[in-house]
């Protein structure tokens, strides 16, 4: 179990993380979501002992980062955001170096290495120089490095940046498989990434947690609205504004005239479905409906709402 308690980290005057607390249960995959510069990497760097907190504490089981840093580091496998590798080494030398640092016994190294090669798809590049590898393969080597000692906790900071869609799918699958037996924290600024891999997510913005829960929790707690876009002919902006008479909870969000058509966006609560009424209303007014499309609030909107407008009501 990882517990982050009242963590604050300032870089000089810049407040990177402002008093955040959360826990990660054993065996859970936690998605850490937030826009760039929200404090994700800083938080992960404190958990991995790369940075010391300005105040607050991090506990892993009963160990804390101030006094038991070495023990905690032994439990963690970490893939940093920038995925630094020793470019002058070849893949085998690099993994062997990490295995030595992680005190993997010589007799066990061979079998563990072949497992990791299998898991991370490193077959065929094991004797290549790291400087010659593509970004995708570098990322795999970074992942191999993080799991070579079979850690209980895996911390992955933006593991799929710079990968092509196929590689992203592969890495996500890999993370899911690893997450079956390990505690995983995965950070990303891309929502789909978290949605595809995590059990639970924490949304962080400007150094504070703005949401914490399972994906379903977040969706239901966010009172979203449905947006209906209409493209009409033979209508005027004036007449459309009377559409609220259909139902008083419908509001006109946007309207504009384009050549001989009018584009109108309506908003109403998710509980409502006034599409048929709107169709009939259009018929009464002799409008021609060219297009009617509905857009339900997605998690994307929840995320955008929380992080851009800073809405704290979720």
């Amino acid at each position: 179990m990882i517990e982050v308690r009242n963590l604050v980290k300032n870089y000089g005057d810049v407040k990177a993380v402002r008093d955040i607390s959360f826990t990660v249960k054993s065996g859970e995959i936690l998605g850490f979501l937030g826009p760039n510069g929200a404090g994700k990497t800083t938080t992960l760097r404190v958990i991995t002992s790369f940075l010391s907190p300005t105040s607050g504490n991090v506990f892993v089981d009963d160990l804390n980062v101030f006094y038991n840093s070495m023990e905690i580091r032994r439990l963690i496998g970490y893939l940093p955001e920038l995925n630094p590798l020793y470019r002058e080494m070849n893949v085998y030398e690099f993994i062997e170096f990490v295995a030595n640092m992680r005190k993997i016994e010589k007799s066990k190294f061979k079998s563990r290495l072949s497992e990791v090669i299998e898991l991370c798809g490193l077959k065929g590049i094991i004797h290549k120089n790291i400087s010659e590898l593509s970004k995708g393969y570098c990322q795999r080597v970074g992942l191999a490095q993080a799991i070579i000692h079979d850690p209980e906790i895996l911390i992955l900071d933006e593991p799929t940046t710079g990968l092509d869609p196929n590689q992203i799918a592969e890495i996500r699958q890999l993370i899911k498989n690893l997450g079956k037996e390990k505690t995983v924290i995965i950070s990303s600024h891309i929502l789909q990434e978290i949605q595809a891999t995590a059990d639970r997510m924490i949304i962080i913005n400007d150094g504070s947690i703005v949401a914490d829960g399972t994906i379903e929790d977040l969706m239901s707690s966010f009172k979203g609205k449905t947006r209906l876009t209409l493209e009409l002919r033979n209508a005027t902006e004036e007449s459309i504004s009377k559409i609220q008479t259909v139902h008083n909870e419908i509001s006109l969000a946007d309207i504009k005239t384009q050549d001989d058509t009018v584009l109108a966006s309506l908003e109403y609560p998710n509980s409502l479905d006034p599409r048929q009424d709107i169709f009939n209303f259009a018929l009464e007014n002799k409008w021609t409906i060219l297009e009617m499309s509905r857009h339900k609030t997605s998690l994307e909107d929840v995320f955008r709402n929380l992080t851009i407008e800073g809405g704290a009501d979720a």
Partner: protein, 238 residues
């Protein structure tokens, strides 16, 4: 199970000898001291290496900053420091591993100069082997002190040129102290002399291995290595 220091040491030495820069630096070291040494060797007509031993501390001023400037700087620059310091290894193990690697390179450079010793064996007579052994010992210890300064310089910046200059300036001050004694008021001159590296080197080279000299050089090594560890630790608190 190998210790962290020895793993880091091995990694550092092998990465050094895998790069062409190492060979260029070593060959440069050898060419420069060979040129200055042999150009006067036959004129002086003495069977010893004293000119070589007074020459190498001057070449050290450039050679040691050149081999130590990348030690930590490169890790900071390529962000591998984040990878390294989140593994179960302490900051002092990192520093000592790197320092010993630098010392090995200095030792290798000194080994190259043995070529002069062998030519001396061929052309010279009446050679004082003891003086030569103590001379090399002195050079190795002074090299270690300079390497400690270089290790420290490389922890304070991400820029290798800056690391080079900082190291050069610090060891130049140690080097110059006993050469400016005539400009220094009398009561300070003994302090300046004691603080100068050359003064202690001269003693050791003469074959007088006094505890004062060893304590002095040992303290410089310890001080700068300690400063390096503290600087690394401070990066966590930035």
């Amino acid at each position: 199970m190998r210790s962290n220091v020895s793993i880091l040491y091995r990694k550092e030495v092998s990465s050094f000898f895998n790069s062409p820069v190492a060979y260029i630096t070593l060959i440069g070291f050898l060419i420069i001291n060979s040129w200055f040494f042999t150009s006067t060797f036959f004129l002086i007509n003495e069977s010893d290496l004293r000119t070589l031993f007074s020459l190498i501390p001057i070449i050290y001023l450039f050679f040691i900053p050149a081999i130590t400037m990348g030690l930590i700087t490169r890790e900071l620059n390529s962000d591998t420091m984040e990878f390294l310091t989140t593994m179960p290894v302490s900051d002092s193990e990192i520093i000592i591993g790197k320092f010993l690697a630098a010392l090995t390179l200095i030792g290798t450079a000194l080994l190259f100069t043995l070529v002069h010793f062998f030519s001396l064996l061929i052309v010279g007579n009446n050679i004082d082997i003891g003086a030569i052994i103590s001379g090399y010992l002195g050079l190795l210890i002074v090299g270690a002190a300079y390497a400690a300064v270089g290790t420290f310089s490389s922890t304070i910046t991400k820029n290798q040129i800056v690391a080079f200059i900082v190291c050069f300036v610090i060891i130049f001050i140690f080097f110059i102290l006993d050469k400016i004694l005539i400009f220094v008021p009398g009561f300070l001159s003994s302090i300046f002399q004691y603080l100068s590296i050359d003064y202690h080197l001269a003693n050791i080279s003469r074959g007088v291995i006094d505890s004062r000299n060893i304590i002095y050089l040992g303290s410089i090594i310890a001080l700068f290595l300690l400063l390096s560890v503290r600087t690394l630790e401070m990066r966590r608190w930035r």
